[in-house]
């Protein structure tokens, strides 16, 4: 008979080992579709590694790709720590990007030292506002935030498309559904000449560090953890559960909004409806792979960005589909979920009348 029993406490080795092992297994499993596509496996994996570590430019491209994932990963990690399931980072990202172009593309013409902070603050506020609605619906009426945040994504995306053919459309854009470009002084500074890597990365790293510190050391983090781990006991102990949830919702939405700001004001310069290839959703995988730890988010964002960038370069070199990257990311999430289960429970076989371990 097979029984599943909870483990006493998952050790440090488990909490670190499970995500790493999951990532490795997911990469290894990618060999199956690669082989089916007829590719030479050693060459394929070699191209993948080269695509990330082959040159300074390749590496900077990976960091550029990791930047929005760090923001959306942090957005998911913080919300999930409080058991607030924000699936709406994708929509909040677009709200942030929209605010960035609304203010940055010529609405005000002020020096960059004022314009950049303004864009960042308004972008974060727009993302926060996007999450405030579902949070309010949840704390006031008990509406399931999984449903509301997920569905809001589609509403927001269609709203963006409408704005890009209306109020926000670039008058010089020959009728393309895209916004006017952000003023030069409003763009986040590049980090290296002739590389696309921008200072949004620095902002993401700083925020991850701050989040890590605040979670562990501040009263705010204490409340957040208590609410997430046992809301009933937190409430009993006098912690304002709804207040904590609302606070983390605002923060989570703001971080997702910053992902949009960083993409639009750091990389693209203008807003189109295909700004994000699902950064909001991938952020959930990033957060889960990181075990909801802010510093872990940085590492897992780097891993997932490497998979994307590496697979892109491999597909260019070998002519296999770049959808392989999505496959690896999805499989690593599944591996983490299974791994997390294995870390928390032990599966034992017991035979009649034989002493079990």
């Amino acid at each position: 008979m097979i029984r599943i029993e909870p483990r006493n406490a998952p050790g440090r080795l488990m909490t670190l080992g499970v995500p790493v092992l999951s990532a490795v297994i997911a990469l290894a499993l990618a060999a199956i579709p690669l082989a089916l596509a007829g590719a030479d496996l050693t060459v394929a994996y070699g191209e993948m590694v080269k695509g990330v570590f082959g040159s300074v430019f390749a590496f900077s491209e990976m960091l550029t790709r990791a930047t929005p994932l760090m923001f959306t990963g942090l957005a998911a990690a913080l919300a999930f720590r409080a058991k607030l399931w924000n699936i709406g980072a994708e929509g909040q990202l677009y709200l942030g990007a929209m605010a960035a172009v609304a203010i940055g593309a010529g609405a005000v013409d002020i020096p960059g030292i004022f314009l950049i902070p303004l864009i960042i603050v308004l972008g974060a506020a727009a993302g926060a506002a996007g999450m405030a609605v579902p949070a309010l619906l949840k704390t006031r009426f008990g509406a399931d935030e999984v449903v509301t945040t997920l569905l809001l994504n589609f509403i927001i995306l269609i709203f963006v498309q409408m704005m890009l053919e209306g109020a926000l459309q670039d008058p010089m854009g020959l009728g393309w559904p895209q916004s006017a470009p952000i003023l030069d002084q409003g763009m986040l500074p590049q980090l290296m000449p002739r590389m696309r890597m921008h200072s949004g990365l620095i902002l993401a790293l700083v925020l991850a560090g701050v989040a890590q510190f605040m979670l562990a050391r501040s009263v705010w983090g204490f409340r957040l953890r208590a609410v997430g781990e046992n809301a009933a006991a937190a409430r009993h102990a006098g912690i304002g559960v709804n207040r904590s949830l609302f606070g983390v919702a605002i923060l989570s939405g703001g971080l997702a909004g910053l992902a949009g700001v960083s993409e639009v004001a750091g990389l693209k310069g203008y807003l189109t409806a295909d700004l994000s290839p699902g950064f909001g959703y991938t952020g959930i995988v990033v957060a889960m792979l990181a075990g909801l730890s802010p510093v872990g988010v940085v590492i897992s964002a780097l891993f997932i960005a490497s998979v994307f960038v590496g697979a892109d370069s491999m597909s260019r070199a070998m002519g296999v589909s770049s959808y392989l990257a999505d496959l690896v990311v999805a499989m690593s999430l599944l591996c983490v979920l299974v791994g997390g289960f294995v870390a928390r429970y032990r599966i034992t076989r017991s035979k009649p009348a034989v002493a079990a371990a």
Binding site: E5, N8, A233, A355
Partner: protein, 505 residues
């Protein structure tokens, strides 16, 4: 009494990880016998019965059960179906009945053929009626179980077992949900059943009823059978010593003059769709140096009363005064600030955040305290020092102050909560079922601390379903029934029992 063997458990062992729940426990049961299985919480009683019933697979040992003709046959282990067909019936502490079906349907449920075209209801009814006539267990057969009282539901559970021709009946703490009078009736019925040859094992930790109604007593301690004794040779002291391994000092309650009121509830009302969450015109006063005991059968509004005093629920009418000051905006925070210390009923669910450390759980109610935090940042050294001191003075034992609180045993979790509550010098202590589920050592510690707080000038509101606990600790007793409180002046079990059942005397 005939001495025909019907059941023998041979050296049953069960381990859960490193914990030995049962170590080579052997038991015998005879026709028509009532065996009481005693032991503290965690002694392994329920594990043993779950192995008998096939819920758990023993790691070692075997079970023999008598066939109707009296031959002993080995029982297939790990299969509830095998236990059922061997004539073993079990009534769990928490009933397993379908509330929307009638009592009769519940009794026959699961023992009918799956693919029969029509049900033989008349035959079933006749059989159940026969059992009811023989044993005196009665229940309205056509009423949906949801409308039956707890006592009636329990009888339906027992009828269900007897309907399946159980010759051995296991009752897991059958009287926990009954008034003293209902319990007496139950034991009369059990008496009638055993005269028919039924053998009964009942699990309990109420020594009084064990002494009154069993023939033989077996005691488990730490998974080992430490003794077996004929009830006629036993008394409370002997059994208690067998259970604990030593004499536990019963806390003595010194006489005290009550001081000023620390908690006054006037005209308190709470509306709810569920009867168990309702309160109607509740008036009570707890004074300093006083323990007020609230007795009652489970589900009569105790949780609602505790929720209001904890600040978890806002009353719909009436007022709450703590230490002479009216609480205008009752919520957990204002109640804590006003000086109410709360020991919650469900310590795992409401008392601790299991994933957070022992140290963090010890300060969770005082996050605003400047000793705990400065400028929004936790004062980690002070938190650790606080945890070390409290762990020592309250004897909280576990893997350490940085380990998750869920790793503590039930008794140590309760000590953690006591430390948190008593260190704040609360004016009023709300103790909701503070002893339930604790071993005797921890239970004695809780009682001692409650009496200490009383001596130090706090008022204690003790809510309990265990009348013995209330009689032992409370200075004054009120009974809660159907959301209403009545004061009882007598300390007589009979009188209190009648009030618990809602009889106006």
């Amino acid at each position: 009494m005939t001495l025909q063997k019907v059941l023998s458990l041979n050296a049953l062992s069960k381990r859960f990880g490193s914990v030995v729940a049962n170590d080579a426990v052997s038991l015998e049961l005879h026709r028509g016998e009532v065996l009481a299985l005693l032991g503290e919480n965690g002694a392994g009683k329920t594990t043993l019965m779950n192995m008998l019933f096939g819920h758990y697979m023993p790691d070692g040992g075997s079970i023999d059960v008598a066939t109707p003709s009296g031959d002993m046959q080995p029982l297939t282990l790990g299969h509830p179906q095998a236990a059922l067909s061997a004539g073993i019936g079990m009534v769990h502490q928490h009933f397993t009945l379908a509330e929307n079906l009638s009592a009769l349907d519940n009794i026959t449920l699961g023992s009918e053929p799956l693919f029969a075209l029509r049900r033989d209801r008349a035959g079933a009814r006749a059989k159940v009626q026969g059992i009811m006539d023989r044993t005196g267990l009665t229940a309205p057969l056509d009423t949906p179980v949801g409308k039956l009282s707890v006592g009636e539901r329990q009888r339906v559970e027992i009828l269900k077992a007897l309907y399946r021709d159980a010759r051995i009946l296991v009752l897991d703490e059958p009287t926990a949900v009954l008034t003293p009078q209902e319990a007496d009736t139950l034991f009369e019925n059990i008496g009638a059943m055993t005269r028919d040859g039924l053998a009964v094992i009942f699990i309990s930790h109420k020594l009084r009823e064990v002494l009154a109604f069993s023939h033989r007593i077996a005691v488990l301690r730490h998974g080992v059978k430490v003794g077996e004794i004929a009830t006629s040779d036993a008394d409370q002291r002997v059994i208690a010593r067998m259970m604990v391994g030593e004499d536990t000092p019963t806390p003595t309650r010194a006489a005290m003059t009550p001081g000023a009121p620390v908690l006054t509830l006037s005209g308190l009302g709470l509306r709810s769709a569920a009867a168990r969450d309702r309160l109607t015109d509740v008036n009570l006063t707890v004074h300093a140096h006083e323990i007020l005991g609230i007795a009652g059968v489970s589900g009569n509004g105790q949780s609602a009363l505790a929720a209001v005093i904890s600040g978890l629920r806002r009353p719909d009418s009436g007022s709450i005064q703590v230490d002479g000051v009216e609480i205008l905006n009752p919520n957990p925070k204002t109640m804590i600030k006003a000086g109410v210390g709360r020991i919650p009923e469900d310590r795992h669910h409401d008392g601790i955040v299991g994933a957070m450390s022992v140290a963090e759980n010890m300060i969770i109610e005082r996050l605003d305290d400047p000793l705990v935090q400065s400028n929004g940042l936790l004062n980690r050294d002070a938190i650790a020092t606080n945890a070390k001191t409290l762990s020592q003075s309250y004897d909280v034992r576990g893997p350490g102050i940085d380990a998750g609180a869920r790793l503590l045993s039930g008794g140590n979790i309760q000590k953690l909560i006591l430390a948190r509550v008593f260190e704040q010098n609360a004016r009023l202590i709300l103790a909701n079922q503070p002893i339930r589920g604790l071993d005797m050592g921890a239970a004695a510690e809780v009682s001692r601390r409650l009496l200490e707080a009383r001596a130090a000038g706090a008022g204690v509101l003790l809510i309990s379903e265990d009348l013995d606990e209330i009689l032992g600790l409370a200075d004054r007793i009120m009974v809660i029934h159907d959301g209403q409180l009545t004061e009882v002046s007598s300390r007589n079990r009979e009188d209190i029992g009648l009030k618990m059942a809602g009889e106006q005397t």
